[in-house]
């Protein structure tokens, strides 16, 4: 019970006691024992009320203080000879106060003490009084009844109060927990937002119906629109990204993500921006696929650099080509010009014939060089027909001086342009042949793999060192003093034109294996 309430009740008790003493048969007079008792009672109670709540609320302390009340009241009754008056009613008040402020056991004990003291007082006043007297039979049981009823009432009130307090505490805890969770959620949302905003790639989340739900700053930059112009708007209403939406729609309807694709969009200013992107599905266990997430990279800068590199490469090729053409053509030109000069002053018919022959050889050589340049520089579309590599290679190896092992079996027809393919294999096989001495051996094997025919040209020549292997397809790069530097570049060009693939494995002193993938001829065309 609260300290103030208890003190208040106790003072009522004191006042009542003093009042009853004042109006008792003997009355309260200064200097008499009753007066002293009343004064002590008042002062002690005043001291009690000033004690800290912690002590006041201790069960032993409240028990002792109520015991003290009973003793004082009994003393007052005794000293004021009020046994025959209604003084005993103060016991009820004392027991009532005791039972509302302590446990049932404590208040019953106080009731017992009060009964015993009261009974003793009566007995002392009227020795030989019967226990069946109304003073015993009615008043004492009443003390117990009051004690029981009031303490039960107080106990249940206390219980209610405790429950209420607990409920309040629980409510406060709950409120705190809700606040904590909300704060955490806000923090988490901010955290996620920060991640999305700091990603260097563009991010856009789009619902199944085309409504954009999330964009990040990179998306704003690349698309040229502000967040407010994108979020909550339908992607179909934004100009220049129709193709991108088609891809998203396809991913959503087919339920398949799109990985590493490229598309061009128009930004707000109408500029074309190439983007490389992934589209993944946005799905939840409850709703399934509800949209998609687009993650993209602006490729403009990369494209610009690529274009620049290509241009540099073209210029570098042009320079190399000019010097190559000058050197390659000057030799046969020297021969043509020189023999023509000799021809002027020669009479011998046989000599004349020889000189003319040399002049023609020079012309042929120049023609061959021009062919090489044209093959390398050509970008016209080829018309592919069925070409049987078995026949083609058989034709080539007839003219080669080195020993060739070629025992083809199985499919060997590819889709290609015969002249180009002949040039490809002539270059490859003569290249191998030139890398060998008289013990040289070339082996040519076919292999079928998926929709490709692979031709392996294997020689036991001197091999190619690592540095040269890297540059093997670079135009005008040659390790042979008399090579033009275009042979393998042309091979690569022809393979690329046929959408094939070429690989070279080589070890110095052991030989070289060149593998060429060409698309197999399928009967359907």
């Amino acid at each position: 019970m609260e300290k103030n309430k208890l003190s208040f009740l106790r003072f009522i008790l004191i006042l009542t006691t003093i009042l009853v003493m004042t109006y008792s048969k003997k009355g309260l007079h200064f200097g008499e024992p009753g007066y002293t008792i009343a004064l002590i009672y008042f002062i002690l109670s005043l001291i009690f009320s000033r004690l800290p709540e912690k002590i006041i609320n201790r069960p032993w302390f409240s028990f002792l203080s109520f015991l003290f009340d009973i003793i004082i009241i009994s003393l007052a009754i005794y000293l004021t000879e009020g046994i025959e008056t209604d003084f005993y009613l103060i016991y009820f008040l004392a027991i009532f106060i005791s039972s509302v402020s302590q446990s049932v056991n404590g208040s019953i004990f106080i009731a017992i003490v009060a009964s015993v003291v009261y009974a003793w007082l009566i007995h002392r006043e009227y020795p030989g009084i019967s226990f069946l007297d109304s003073r015993f039979l009615i008043r004492i049981p009443f003390l117990f009844v009051i004690s029981l009823v009031s303490s039960y009432w107080a106990e249940s009130t206390r219980r209610e109060l405790r429950k209420k307090e607990e409920l309040e505490r629980f409510n406060i805890e709950l409120k705190k927990e809700v606040e904590r969770v909300t704060a955490r959620e806000v923090e988490l949302r901010l955290y996620n937002e920060r991640i999305i905003n700091s990603v260097a790639s563009g991010i856009m989340v789009v619902r199944k119906d085309g409504i954009i739900t999330t964009v990040n700053p990179e998306t704003e930059r690349v698309f040229g629109y502000k967040k407010e112009e994108l979020v909550e708007y339908n992607i179909k209403s934004i100009n220049g990204i129709d193709e991108l939406w088609q891809k998203m729609e396809k991913a959503i309807t087919e339920g398949k993500p799109i990985i590493r694709d490229e598309v061009e969009i128009l930004n707000k200013d109408g500029e074309r921006i190439p983007i490389g992107f992934n589209i993944t599905l946005f799905e939840t266990p409850e709703k399934g696929v509800s949209g998609c997430v687009l993650i993209f990279k602006d490729l403009s800068e990369i494209r610009r650099l690529e274009e620049k590199a290509k241009q540099n490469e073209r210029l570098s090729y042009l320079g190399k080509m000019a010097s190559w053409v000058a050197h390659e053509i000057r030799n046969p030109l020297t021969s043509i010009d020189g023999f023509a000069q000799l021809l002027v002053s020669v009479d011998d018919k046989e000599k004349m014939k020889n000189y003319i022959e040399e002049i023609r050889k020079g012309a042929h050589r120049i023609n061959h060089i021009i062919d090489d340049i044209l093959t390398f520089a050509r970008s016209k579309k080829m018309e592919f027909k069925k070409v049987d590599l078995k026949d083609l290679i058989n034709g080539i190896i007839q003219t080669i001086k080195v020993k060739v092992v070629f025992e083809p079996d199985g499919e060997s027809a590819v889709q290609g342009e015969e002249e180009s393919l002949r040039r490809l294999f002539v270059n490859l096989i003569t290249n191998s042949a030139e890398a060998m001495d008289e013990n040289g051996l070339i082996k040519i094997i076919f292999e079928n793999q998926d929709d490709f025919i692979i031709t392996h040209v294997i020689d036991n020549g001197k091999g190619i060192d690592e540095k040269d292997l890297k540059n093997i397809f670079t135009p005008f790069y040659t390790t042979k003093p008399r090579g033009t530097g275009l042979g393998l570049a042309i091979v690569k060009k022809i393979v690329d034109d046929h959408k094939g693939k070429i690989e070279i494995q080589s070890k110095l002193g052991q030989g070289t294996k060149i593998s060429v993938w060409l698309p197999a001829w399928n009967k359907g065309g």
Binding site: H327, N331, T334, D337, G338, L342, Y355, P481
Partner: protein, 119 residues
């Protein structure tokens, strides 16, 4: 006795041409690489060397340096398609007697050879 000229060029038509142009007045020996040229110069006596500088086996001016190690006096004529190199070579190697660029003026070649070694 005819004076002897060694011709070294990796291109067969050029060897043939130089041989045809000079064989009436000189004894001409031909080879197609720098290594062979060095061997010839070491073993035999020649009055003049006409050589290309881009050939198999040896690189650029290396041939000239190595020939000079073996023969300090023989006049060397470079015959090359690389016109731009002319000045460089003359400056770097005072060892070179003349530089003839391709295509070759036969008369100019004959005059130059005559100036250097006579007949």
């Amino acid at each position: 006795m005819k004076k002897r000229i060694l011709i070294c060029d990796d291109e067969e038509p050029i060897r043939l041409l130089l041989n045809e142009a000079l064989k009436d007045d000189y004894e001409v020996v031909v080879c197609d690489n720098g290594r062979d040229a060095i061997k010839y110069i070491t073993k035999e006596k020649f009055d003049l060397l006409i050589t290309d500088i881009k050939m198999p086996g040896t690189h650029g001016l290396e041939v000239i340096e190595r020939i000079r190690e073996r023969n300090k006096t023989i006049p060397i004529v470079i015959c090359s398609a690389y016109k731009l190199l002319e000045d460089d070579i003359v400056v770097k190697t005072s060892e070179v007697a003349a530089f003839i660029t391709k295509p070759i003026e036969i008369n100019q070649l004959r005059t130059k050879v005559f100036e250097l070694i006579g007949v």
